[in-house]
């Protein structure tokens, strides 16, 4: 490893970290679907990731309007864990290598 990068720590850390360095190349996507309620999706984002109401609603609207949103990123292990938590709440989540 070289010189540590100066990264800004997120204000809230309830198990997820928002870093995007090369060691953490997986992203977790949530896709729009016509079944899950918008209020439910935003609630799940808050419950699973500890997001603020504002952030959860913004991501939910991204999913709704753009068809998908990146909700977390990390190692493959971390991404799979997040995907699994979203699946257990019935959300349509997938993971892929960050491009």
């Amino acid at each position: 490893m070289g010189t540590p990068l100066e990264v800004q720590e997120p204000q809230i850390d309830l198990g997820t970290e928002e870093t995007t360095d090369a060691d953490r190349p997986w992203i977790v996507l949530v896709w729009n679907d016509p079944i899950n309620l918008m209020s439910y999706v935003a609630f799940v984002f808050r419950k699973v990731f500890g997001f603020s109401e504002e952030k959860a609603n913004r991501l939910m609207l991204d999913v709704h309007e753009k068809g998908r949103a990146v909700v977390s990123n990390g190692t493959r292990f971390e991404a799979e864990r997040d995907v699994n938590r979203l699946h257990s709440h019935g959300l349509w989540a997938t993971m892929e290598h960050d491009k």
């Binding site: 204000q11 809230i12 679907d33 016509p34 079944i35 899950n36 309620l37 918008m38 209020s39 439910y40 609630f43 808050r46 419950k47 500890g50 603020s52 109401e53 504002e54 952030k55 799979e80 995907v83 699994n84 699946h87 257990s88 709440h89 019935g90 959300l91 349509w92 989540a93 997938t94 993971m95 892929e96």
Partner: protein, 166 residues
Amino acid sequence: MPLFRRHLLFVPLDDGSYAVKLSQEARHGIVTLAQQLDDLLDTDLPETRRLFPTAYPEDPERDAGYQVFARQQLIDKRRDAVELIRSTASKDRLTEDELSAWMGVLNDLRLVLGTMLDVSEDDYDIDSDDPNIDSHMLYRYLGELVHNIVEALTTSLPDPEDESTP
């Protein structure tokens, strides 16, 4: 603030529990539906597709690896929630965990029913001649229940970034 009328079927109480304002008939219906969900979990019927999503859509091999542990785990989790609904169906007060289990099962039922009905729009008008009108009405009712539970459980979430919260 929501402008629509709130039914307040699930009311957060000061002690952290939730009052359930549902008729016996509604409770009975929920238990019956939960049992039907339970019966579907071990099947490979197409309407259960949304209960077991793909993690790696572009990598079938990795997805198979994910499904090996995820499928059974998702089944077990849902069975536990169904069992919790059975044992708490007649209670007038639910804990946060119990109400979360109710929400999960009711949302799973929407996923199954919505898949069966091939729902493709967020909001749609129900045609009174539709042979599936009962299922459409049930789907809508389940949505109302889930939305009500979400509103009730939202009171339990911390919101550290929202300064307007007292």
